[in-house]
């Protein structure tokens, strides 16, 4: 195969694609509204720090000590207390009916035990059906336990080994700080895969592919020409997310914005190439769109480490996620955004991303059939 590349043909494809984008309200809307919508939904709606947890307290001791214990829960400000005077059954049925996430059951001899032995047990029931909330509550409990001991016995319990914890990079463990840099990844992935998945399929459906193929144009020229305008749209989307992150959610931008830009660009091209590959293989727009959703949206939301850390996945999935460009860019994005990581820190993610990107472009070009075999 004689390899011929013409810049003029490539640019004229890019120019033609620009007309399509500017004259198609759907593409334009998708390119501008979708990032904004996603930033709002994910940035504002997702909160990992659970507050106002429903807590049913069944206090059968009714002493000064048991009331102090309840107060500790109240003053932690994580819980919304609902007291019940009925029976222990009520405390449990509140969990069944989702009115509470947890129940605190204080036995009648609570104060007596505390004063006579210096040790008292109390029961804490947790709704394990929702294990993410349960996990968060568990995290609060150790602090509450310490506060309660101090309040009830007037002394601090000294554990044998004390870990002094300090949170780096996100000192307040703020959810938007964690979410928004990752959101850049998700937005680029969805937008670019979805937009490009349609472009080649559309040419097949409209029959204009026959016009293209009856000219001397080369597959690489079509692929690259079509990538150019979408890259520009994608970069605009990234910029939007970064601006919202800094000015809307008050994130610090710790690293080098230029390095972040380069990372975004490589990732963007990888995603666009993935969309192009889908579009080249599947010649109908509707099916392309569905496949783009499944291969673009799901992995970047679920497997990239956006919300669920890939370290906690089974070994197979940990390995598997390494072929996802979104996983690598997730590391790059969070690293540069919050930690101020340098290129030296991010050697592996950058290298992986470049390799994946090249493979995808190559595959799309190779799979681009130049004949019309059905």
């Amino acid at each position: 195969m004689n390899f011929e590349f013409s810049l003029r043909r490539t640019l004229s494809i890019a120019k033609k694609e620009r007309f399509h984008i500017l004259r198609d309200p759907f593409t334009l809307t998708m390119a501008t509204v979708l990032p904004v919508l996603l930033v709002l939904i994910f940035g504002l709606a997702i909160e990992f720090n659970v507050k106002d947890i429903g807590l049913t307290v069944y206090d059968s001791d009714r002493t000064l000590s048991s009331r102090k214990l309840t107060e500790v829960f109240i003053s932690s400000q994580y819980f919304k207390i609902k007291s019940t005077n009925g029976s222990i059954i009520d405390a449990i049925s509140d969990l069944d009916s989702e009115q509470s996430k947890a129940s605190l059951i204080i036995k009648p001899d609570f104060e007596h035990n505390l004063q006579s032995t210096g040790n008292a047990n109390t029961q804490f029931l947790l709704d394990g059906a929702d294990n993410s909330t349960a996990g968060v509550i568990m995290g609060y409990l150790s602090g509450i336990q310490q506060a309660a001991s101090f309040k009830l016995k007037g002394q601090k319990v000294k554990p044998a080994i004390e870990l002094k914890t300090r949170y780096l990079y996100n000192p307040e463990l703020s959810s938007p700080w964690f979410i928004v840099p990752g959101l850049a990844v998700v937005i680029i992935a969805i937008l670019s895969i979805l937009l490009t998945a349609l472009t080649v399929a559309r040419e097949w459906e409209n029959g204009s592919m026959e016009l293209l193929l009856s000219t001397p144009v080369q597959p690489i020229e079509i692929i690259v020409g079509k990538l150019i305008p979408y890259t520009i749209i994608g970069l605009a989307g990234v910029m939007l997310v970064v601006l919202v992150a800094i000015f809307g959610f008050g994130l610090p931008f710790a690293g080098n914005i230029f390095l972040f830009g380069i990372g975004s660009l490589i990732f963007l091209i990888a995603c666009l190439a993935q969309g192009m590959l889908i579009s080249v293989l599947i010649r109908t727009q509707q099916l392309s769109m569905q496949i783009a959703m499944v291969t673009g949206l799901l992995p970047s939301l679920l497997l990239s480490g956006f919300i669920f850390p890939s370290e906690s996945m089974p070994l197979f999935f940990q390995r598997f996620t390494s072929i996802l460009p979104s996983k690598w860019f997730m590391i790059i994005s969070r690293g540069i955004f919050l930690k101020g990581a340098t290129l030296a820190d991010l050697k592996l993610p950058f290298l992986s991303l470049i390799i994946l990107c090249s493979i995808l472009i190559l595959a799309a070009t190779k799979k681009f059939k130049k004949d019309l075999e059905p």
Partner: protein, 310 residues
């Protein structure tokens, strides 16, 4: 082969297979420069596949194709510069203007700006286009779209033009205009290769190839096709009123009659034995108005394509 005009297209033992399916079976033919060559056949007969091979859009499974002085072995890309192709589907971009569509096609074919300007002017005059050139293609009426599409496909001034059902779905008036353009191209020395479903269009072709299930079953001028297919006289039977139920069956079984085909309310009857025909004619003249007619291309088509497969 006539020596007067050089060969424009030559196809030798062309076969195209898609998996197990053979779309084109070992066909051979040649087309002279300036000829209007018609390709006729039902859907799936292999017309479009053949055209796509000739345009360099499909690689033949076996066989040899030559476009002017370039053979398929010399590479598909070289062939593409010699041919223009207008496919069944409307291939211009609806959301681009005529000017943008032309400029796009021109840049893919590396036509210079000056040449594009000159060709655009020529071609718009050629198709007698009066609207502004920055009209969006989607705002054009169907017939005009087709003409603009034709103009776009000959922007690079190809020697051979392939038209795959160019007039599907346009009005009869627009079809007539379009054929006037085809004839004009032919008289300018361009070879036009056209597939169609319309019999009246096929009758305007210099020579016609009939395709059925991947094979060319007849190839000749219209007159020769008619003479060869209908050496015996053809009669049209117009029913007067009611006729006995078994009359048609009896006619079909009569050894002196080759066939009786229904054409709408009428029948076309082909005589096998002219000596005995007069007797038969007298017998059935009570039921039909009978007149001898020249065969139309449709008769030829039905006899060759459908009559054969019965």
């Amino acid at each position: 082969m006539t020596a007067s005009e050089p060969t424009s297209v030559s196809v030798n033992n062309l076969t195209v297979k898609f998996g197990d399916f053979t779309a084109v079976k070992n066909i051979s033919f040649t087309v002279q420069k300036g000829e209007i060559f018609g390709f006729l056949g039902a859907n799936g007969a292999g017309k479009t596949t053949t055209i796509r091979v000739l345009c360099g859009l499909l690689t033949p499974t076996s066989g040899h194709v030559q476009i002017t002085d370039i053979s398929s072995e010399q590479g598909i890309e070289a062939m593409k510069s010699k041919v223009g192709y207008m496919s069944q589907k409307f291939t211009l971009y609806n959301d681009l203007t005529i000017e943008e569509n032309f400029a796009f096609t021109a840049s893919l074919r590396k036509i210079s700006k000056a040449k594009l300007k000159q060709r655009t002017k020529e071609l718009l005059e050629f198709i007698n286009f009066k609207k502004p050139i920055n009209t969006l293609v989607k705002d054009l009426p169907g017939g005009i779209k087709q003409q603009v599409s034709l103009a776009a496909s000959i922007l690079h001034d190809p020697e051979i033009l392939f038209l795959d059902e160019p007039t599907a779905g346009v009005t009869p008036v627009a079809r007539a205009l379009f054929w006037a353009l085809i004839r004009k191209l032919s008289s300018n020395g361009k070879t036009v290769f056209v597939t169609t479903h319309y019999m009246d269009e096929a009758e305007q072709c210099g020579r016609i190839a009939l395709m059925r299930t991947g094979e060319i079953i007849a190839l000749d001028t219209l007159q020769n096709l008619k003479d060869n297919t209908f050496p015996d006289p053809l009669y049209e039977l117009n029913p007067k009123n009611s006729m006995p139920d078994d009359l048609l069956q009896n006619l079909r079984n009569n050894p002196s009659i080759a066939s009786v085909e229904s054409y709408g309310m009428k029948y076309h009857l082909i005589v096998r034995d002219p000596d005995k025909w007069d007797n038969v004619r007298n017998e059935i003249s009570n039921y039909f108005d009978i007149r001898q007619i020249p065969p139309s291309l449709e008769d030829v088509f039905i006899r060759l394509v459908e009559g054969d497969s019965r």
